[in-house]
Amino acid sequence: MASSTIKSAYLRGLRDGAPFLLVAIPFATLFGVVATEAGLSILETFSFSLLAVAGAAQFAAIQQMVDNAPTIIVLATALAVNLRMAMYSAALAPYLGPAPLWQRALASFFLFDQNYALAVSEFEKKPEMPTNQKVAYFLGAASLISPFWFGMTLVGALVGNAIPDAFALDFALPITFLSLIGPAIRTPAHMIAVIVSVSAALGFAFLPLNLGLLIAAVLAMMAGAQTELWLERRGKWN
């Protein structure tokens, strides 16, 4: 009985996570292409997806590596993009907290935007769900996307090596970033953050080691947060 309900929770997660394949498949392929174009070997490209399992941060790291940035800058940029996941981790802690450590570690490894969003809305709807079923649902939602993320990165890496330069692949990376920015602008505060980020990054572009980007990121985060506060005070937030 218990195992069958765990299994059904897992399968429900699997089904709910399936639509995200539509984005993950082309995105992973594109990463494989972009990373090998940038100069990573097929093994390095594949390992990157395997170890990081993080779309936007991987693209950001590749761009910094193309600019020959030192490790500390590459790391700071990629982890800055991933900082939002601390927020996801905090949101899931009340639900997954009681699970054994190895399950929490496994769930953490496979925590990304999509299954976070699915799991939080599922757990809010069904708080009475036992912890083991919650873990099963969460891992179910991750287990279709992940193999495709890994596999299609490899396909992209193999394909990337074969595409001629005439196809303007240099621009696949900027377009990928742009495609993530547009949909992420949900409020005026996000828009302000985007504007500050762009202006400061261009303004500080003269700084060495791509430090301008990190300054721009901090300023933009503060601008977003302050805009949110300001809108809140005027009663225009949510």
Partner: protein
């Protein structure tokens, strides 16, 4: 890219480890405790704070044209951004940007 194989692997492994610990932070270490509002308020903007700053110089000064602004790439970027913003659809945004760029290159070349 002029990084050595060692530097590339260092980057990959450290990003993997760092990302894991960000994900594991509350679920595995800190536990069920509230993050102060002011921190949450900043974390909400991390993607829109980093990615636009990263992409802006790539669009204005593309390496493929030795840093000279290029009308084809500017237009493709504008289309990709606008489609993403209005449709909220990542794939539609990528596709529209790539198609715009290829069409522009075809007609201008």
């Amino acid at each position: 890219m002029e990084l050595s194989t060692f530097e590339i692997w260092t980057n990959i492994v450290l990003i993997g480890i760092g990302t894991f610990f960000i994900r594991f932070s509350f679920v595995g270490i800190i536990g069920d405790r509230d993050i102060p509002d002011w921190i949450l308020r900043h974390l909400r903007y991390t993607p829109v704070a980093v990615l636009p700053g990263l992409v802006a110089p790539l669009i204005l000064w593309p390496a493929a044209t030795q840093g000279e602004p290029d009308p084809s790439r500017l237009l493709a970027a504008l289309v990709a951004f606008a489609v993403g913003y209005f449709s909220k659809n990542v794939l539609a945004s990528i596709a529209s940007g790539i198609i715009t760029l290829l069409v522009m290159i075809y007609f201008l070349a």
